[in-house]
């Protein structure tokens, strides 16, 4: 029968065997058998097993040459596929314009140029959208617009691509300088407008005449007409003598007929002015929603 003392002896003998020490002196036959069992167990495990096909392949070739199924972590570094390079180009292309826009907006001196470029771009795309441009230009425009749309499919936002050390600011936070686009382009002279509008407020009559007819070929009847309306004595106007067909009589005594013409001319003048105002660009978009 096995006692507690036997257990302790067997454990000591077992540990001694594992440690390579000689068995305790108190070991009896049973304890020796336990130690012998341990030795026999080790003796049965001296030969390696037969590797299966997968392990044999692993032992023969290792993992260095096995690139058949790269992991998702290592796959991107294996090489640059055409799609990857295309996407990289798209990202560069996509980040170019926001960065350029931000720089232009942050540079106050260049704001006017940016606005002008924007106007040209809008006008050009608008014309392209309506198909007004020629075939070659239209095709080119369609390609560019299509490429720009394509770049917005799978590219990252500019915030992801811009590094911290870049001085480019976020376009969304840039305080856009208010650009007042005063169109000071001198209108092309037309005799009708000149005749209808007459000298503007504060303008010398002689300047009006010479500005309109620098070569001295003013319409004398029109000059006379406005001279009567403005109560200008044509004899006191410098350089008026070159104007053909001028009638300097009764310029200071407008008749009732002239008064009537004046009213008509005034209405015509206002009508022409409003007409020019109507040439403004109608770019408003109809995004309004009905309210109940």
């Amino acid at each position: 029968m096995t006692t507690a003392a036997d257990d302790t002896t067997d454990e000591a003998a077992f540990e001694a065997f594992l440690a390579g020490r000689p068995l305790p002196e108190e070991a009896d036959g049973g304890t020796s058998a336990v130690a012998a069992f341990a030795g026999a167990v080790r003796a049965t495990a001296t030969l390696p097993g037969r590797p299966n096909a997968a392990l044999a392949d692993l032992l023969a070739s290792g993992l260095l040459t096995d690139q058949s199924s790269p992991s998702t972590r290592t796959a991107p570094s294996a090489g640059s596929s055409p799609r990857r390079s295309r996407v990289r180009r798209r990202r560069r292309f996509a980040m170019f314009f926001p960065a350029l826009l931000a720089k232009l907006l942050s540079a106050g001196a260049v704001a006017q140029a940016a606005t002008g470029a924007g106007v040209v771009l809008v006008a050009f795309t608008g014309a392209g959208a309506t198909g007004v441009l020629g075939d070659n230009v239209q095709d080119t425009l369609s390609t560019v617009v299509g490429a720009a749309d394509e770049t917005t499919d799978d590219v990252t936002t500019p915030d992801e691509t811009l590094t911290a050390d870049e001085t480019t600011t976020d376009p969304g936070e840039v305080e856009v300088p208010e650009v007042v686009t005063e169109v000071t382009v001198e209108a092309e002279f037309t005799p009708e407008e000149w005749a209808a509008n007459g000298p503007v407020e504060g303008q010398k009559f002689s300047d009006w005449v010479h500005a309109a007819f620098p070569d001295g070929k003013a319409d004398g009847q029109v000059v006379s007409h406005w001279a009567r309306l403005k109560h200008v004595d044509l004899e006191e106007v410098d350089g008026i003598e070159d104007v053909e067909g001028i009638d300097d009589s009764d310029t200071n005594q407008p008749t009732a007929e002239v008064e009537a013409e004046t009213e008509d001319a005034g209405e015509d003048s206002r009508g022409n002015g409003n007409g020019h105002g109507g040439h403004g660009n109608g770019n408003g978009n109809g995004n309004g929603r009905g309210h109940n």
Partner: protein, 196 residues
């Protein structure tokens, strides 16, 4: 290692996927791993050992430690593969019916071959009589040379539990020996082949 190569060099090469390093580790650890699985009565100990080493080699890049730690890790994987195999087969392991391929062990002297065969068969029979947990503790300590703590970690048990299992296992072995002596007499030791 047993091959004489510095362990750190072998481990670094194996972690990089070098075939020669796999071979070194396999030759060093496979006998004890396969023996562990075989003495546990695994139906296909070679296949199970192969699965174990495939898992070891593919998981090596995430391993860090010395040679003892690697041995403990390998046997932990082998033990879990064995448990999975038992569950997959849904039956208690058949121990001692398959003493392994004795032809690999035999050769040369006929008397020695017979003794080895008897000794191997005796070991399988003794192991088969042990409960699974007690057998695992004893085999991990003998074949894998693991400490109590390492065995506890590999089996997912406490150290005290492993100590108790080892004590009961050794007691069971002694009981088998004493019972055999009573049956055949003191002059004919039934496990004499173990002592050679």
């Amino acid at each position: 290692m047993r091959t004489g190569l510095p362990f750190d060099d072998v481990l670094a090469a194996a972690q990089a996927g070098a075939a020669w390093a796999f071979e070194v580790l396999y030759r060093s650890l496979s006998p004890s791993v396969t023996g562990y699985l075989r003495l546990h009565g695994a139906v296909e100990p070679d296949d199970l050992a192969s699965e174990t080493f495939i898992g070891v080699f593919t998981g090596l890049p995430g391993f860090s430690g010395d040679e003892d730690a690697l041995r403990a890790w390998v046997f932990t994987i082998a033990h879990r593969r064995l448990i999975d195999d038992w569950r997959r087969r849904s039956r208690r392991p058949q121990v001692a019916d398959d003493p392994g391929d004795l032809t690999e062990l035999l050769g040369g002297d006929v008397e020695d071959d017979a003794l080895v065969g008897v000794g191997t068969e005796t070991v399988h029979r003794l192991c088969a009589a042990l409960p699974d947990d007690q057998r695992s503790v004893l085999l991990l300590r003998i074949l894998a040379d693991l400490t109590m703590e390492q065995v506890a970690s590999a089996m997912g048990r406490s150290v005290a539990s492993v100590k108790a299992l080892q004590r009961r296992g050794l007691r069971a072995l002694r009981t088998q020996v004493e019972n055999a002596e009573e049956r055949v007499g003191a002059n004919a030791h039934p496990y004499e082949s173990l002592r050679r």
